[in-house]
């Protein structure tokens, strides 16, 4: 247990994009709202478009590290929860506020002929949602999914205008699912923790048709996070432990970005992202033996998710004010993959507007540092009677996220 807690402090995941994917993994990407695929210029190129590593200075090592401090305000729900055998229970509740540090690291090695190596360590997806109110904790006292990705990549420079890249995704994932209905008179309680190491891949393409236009396409494969661990299931005050598994997908994502630079100072980039969330059909817990019959419908029967593929439209601007200071800003519109029909308290997601900005300061020829801020504004989400299969009728408001990234990069 202590190990789990130690790891959580370092890598707690959060929700800042639709679903539980976290696109922003560096100073530049945070400041640009992840409109950062075609025109990538620092060590984070290894992650955002490894093909572009071919167009960095061939002789240099690029390093970047930083930390994102995430503040996740409460979700608010006002409405009624319908429960079998109990009926409608009026509830006005807030989820817990979360404050999380998320580190990242990127590295690009000097070129070796036409090849170039890079490495990233990121937290590409995650979710932490905790409720203490009786109704909500019956379903999601805590629902946490934490991922760390180690992503070694290679690029191959085909010519001065065209490069390809790709890599292996090594994802360590840890999940926690806690729920407790006793405060509501439902004598069911669940504690589950599990983890897994999974593999995937990513591909990238960079094309610079002219000196001021860049095109980037990246694809990150779907990874099924097959969490394996233990589950304690309680009926009343008596619990039993089972070996348990549950699988959730880290979805595939396709990014297509185009950038245009004017006078080597102003760059505008547009990115379209398609995230293939439709892979998330059900949430299905499996146990090594039959569980107590009274708990089957709550903890064993598959829960329908039926998420849908999403579109995200990102727009970023980079302006080099002078030799020392670079300003960045971005906006994105991010669709939620969660249909009203299957929305639940562990992820009461909705469409979002993402605003971001930041700066980067060149301390000297080798060292840069900067600060970026991102604000994720979630739209409210109203569920009418009969719309939601989980018995939720009411309105979710607030939520979203405020993130501040402190980054430092070094070239040598």
């Amino acid at each position: 247990m202590n190990k789990i807690i130690a790891l959580s402090v370092v890598t707690s995941g959060l929700l800042i994009a639709g679903g539980y994917k976290i696109p922003e993994q560096s100073l530049n990407s945070m400041a640009l709202g992840s409109a950062y695929v075609a025109h990538t210029t620092d060590a984070d190129t290894a992650y955002f478009n490894p093909a572009n590593m071919s167009f960095l200075d061939n002789s240099l090592n690029y390093l970047e590290s930083g930390i994102t401090l995430a503040h996740l305000p409460s979700n608010t729900f006002k409405g009624v929860q319908y429960l079998p055998g109990i009926g409608g229970v009026a509830t006005s509740s807030k989820s817990e506020t979360e404050n999380l540090p998320i580190p990242y690291f990127h590295y690009v090695a000097p070129a070796m002929g036409k090849w170039r190596f890079g490495l990233s360590m990121t937290a590409p997806g995650g979710l932490t949602k905790r409720w203490k109110s009786p109704v909500q904790k019956t379903f999601a006292e805590e629902f946490t999914l934490e991922n760390i990705e180690l992503n070694p990549v290679l690029s191959y420079k085909i010519n001065e205008k065209f490069s390809v890249g790709g890599g292996i995704r090594l994802v360590y994932s840890m999940g926690k699912v806690y729920s407790d209905g006793n405060d509501l008179g439902v004598p069911f309680k669940r504690e589950m923790e599990g983890d897994t190491i999974e593999f995937g891949y990513n591909l990238a393409l960079a094309w610079k048709p002219t000196s001021d236009i860049a095109v980037g396409i990246t694809y990150r494969s779907k990874i099924d996070l097959d969490e394996e661990g233990e589950a304690n299931l309680y009926l009343g005050n008596v619990g039993q432990q089972y070996d348990a598994t549950v699988s959730v997908p880290l979805p595939a994502a396709l990014n297509i970005g185009v950038s245009k630079t004017w006078n080597d100072t102003l760059t505008v980039e547009f990115v379209y992202e398609r995230t293939f969330w439709s892979a998330y059909k059900t949430l299905n817990f499996d146990y090594d033996s039959a569980i107590q019959p009274g708990l089957v419908s709550s903890f064993d029967d598959p829960k329908l998710k039926d998420w849908v593929d999403t579109n995200t439209f990102k727009f970023g601007v980079t302006y080099e004010m002078n030799e020392k200071l670079t300003l960045m800003g971005g906006y994105a519109y991010d669709e939620t993959p969660v249909p009203t029909k299957t929305l639940s308290y562990e992820l009461a997601d909705s469409d979002a507007h993402v605003f971001s900005g930041g700066f980067k300061y060149k301390q000297n020829e080798q060292l840069n540092w900067g600060v970026a801020v991102l604000y994720d504004l979630k739209e409210s989400h109203t569920l009418e009677l009969g719309e939601n299969e989980n018995g939720i009728v009411g309105k979710f408001t607030d939520g979203g996220a405020l993130l501040i990234t402190l980054g430092i990069s070094y070239k040598f």
Partner: protein
């Protein structure tokens, strides 16, 4: 490149810090047993309402309960000591004066015929944590502490053959469990008031009467009242009845009697049961097969070359008064004595498995032996049901009557 390797190593160490194991559930610790169910009254009431239980609504008083699995030792037919188990179900939510001053009354509820070990009381409670049918009536609605011995052959003694309708070891397992439960209560501050009721349905009804006979004959235990329900008290007559029929509707019951009696009386089951059935019995009664599975492996034809029982054995049973089985079933009758405790023989007049006449014979026989107060409680008449009720459907009705009779007695004597 050495810097890169160092970096990968450092990151890998961070990555592969694995999860520890989730601590096992921290269930309540008790002396001499373990808690296997702990449910409050509202939870049970909610589930009863959701299940559409007749007579239960938001205004009903439903007590919660804790169920404890208690290991203890008893003696089998052969006189050997056997480690067995039983379930003690204690009501929660009664007025505090009951726990502090008045004390709780015990009901020893002997379970009916089961074949798979998974149906034993402690196994059901331990694996499902779900309210058991008779415990709901006796404990959650009646407010009694309910005792359910697994019997020899089930629970902790799974692997030992079950002494089906063999009164000595069934009574041993029940009486020893009553003593073990009282010890458990004293060690765990469960305040009992000394009242003891006996009941049980079908095989449990037989066991309840066998238990009363043993208690009155051999112990100083004081039984407040016994209410055996639909038991084959006259085993001799039951055997004659079954073996004189051309077919047996449920062959597993009689086959199990033959199997258990052959083992207990050290007789060769091959002389009783025809092949290929005789060789199957040990496997069929291993505690892993259901009644339906067992019946499917047997025949409903009573005797003859293709029948379940050997024709020569059946002929000898009917014609030879010294036939070992005839003597054995006579020894295992539980109605040929005169109880000094009040006995209510609860039975449905429409019982299609254990005929109502068995209770009438038991009543008459026990009265003839000088019983103090034995009477029959006909279920349909008491409940005002115009149609006869069969053996299976009768169970819940009979339990509700027993619960009411016990509750009235407790109210008249203890005050709640």
């Amino acid at each position: 490149m050495s810097k890169i390797r160092a970096l990968i190593l450092a990151v890998s160490v961070l990555l592969f810090v694995g999860c520890g194991s989730l601590d096992k559930p921290t269930n309540e610790k008790v002396v001499g047993g373990e808690v296997v169910v702990d449910l409050d009254g509202n939870s049970i009431k909610t589930s009863l309402i959701a299940a559409g239980t007749p007579g239960i609504d938001e205004n009903s008083t439903v007590y919660g309960y804790k169920a404890y699995k208690i290991p203890y030792t008893t003696t089998d037919e052969e006189g050997n000591s056997v480690a067995v188990s039983g379930l003690m179900v204690v009501p929660l939510g009664l007025p505090e004066v009951v726990y502090s001053t008045l004390g709780l009354s015990l009901v020893s509820d002997s379970h009916g015929t089961i074949f798979p070990n998974a149906e034993a009381p402690t196994e059901v409670a331990g694996t499902t944590n779900s309210p058991d049918g008779s415990s709901i009536l006796l404990t959650s609605l009646g407010g009694f502490v309910t005792l359910q011995a697994d019997y020899i052959g089930f629970g902790d003694s799974h692997g030992h053959y079950h002494p089906f309708i063999l009164k000595k070891s069934l009574a041993n397992a029940t009486v020893d469990f009553i003593s073990a439960a009282r010890d458990f209560a004293s060690h765990n501050e469960i305040n009992l008031n000394g009242q003891l009721f006996l009941t049980g349905y079908s095989e449990g009804g037989y066991t309840a009467l066998a238990t009363l006979e043993k208690i009155e004959a051999e112990t100083s235990l004081d039984v407040t009242m016994a209410a055996p329900m639909a038991g084959p008290y006259d085993v001799n007559r039951t055997a004659f009845g079954v073996l004189s029929q051309d077919t047996i509707s449920v062959p597993s019951f009689m086959a199990d009697i033959a199997y258990a009696y052959a083992l207990a009386y050290d007789e060769d089951v091959l002389m009783v049961v025809n092949e290929p059935y005789a060789s199957k019995l040990e496997g069929l009664f291993d505690g892993f097969h259901t009644r339906v599975e067992i019946d499917a492996e047997l025949t409903t034809q009573t005797t003859g070359e293709e029948g379940l029982f050997s024709q020569s054995f059946v002929y000898d049973f009917f014609t030879n008064s010294n036939n070992w089985f005839r003597e054995a079933v006579g020894e295992n009758n539980v109605h040929t004595w005169g109880p000094q405790t009040t006995v209510k023989l609860i039975h449905c007049e429409g019982d299609d498995v254990i005929p109502f006449g068995i209770s009438q014979i038991a009543e008459a026989t026990m009265n003839a032996y000088g019983a103090a107060d034995v009477s029959i409680v006909p279920v349909e008449t008491v409940l005002g049901i115009p149609e006869p009720v069969g053996h299976v459907a009768c169970g819940a009705m009979a339990y509700s009557i027993a619960t009411n009779i016990f509750a009235q007695t407790r109210a008249a004597t203890i005050g709640y």
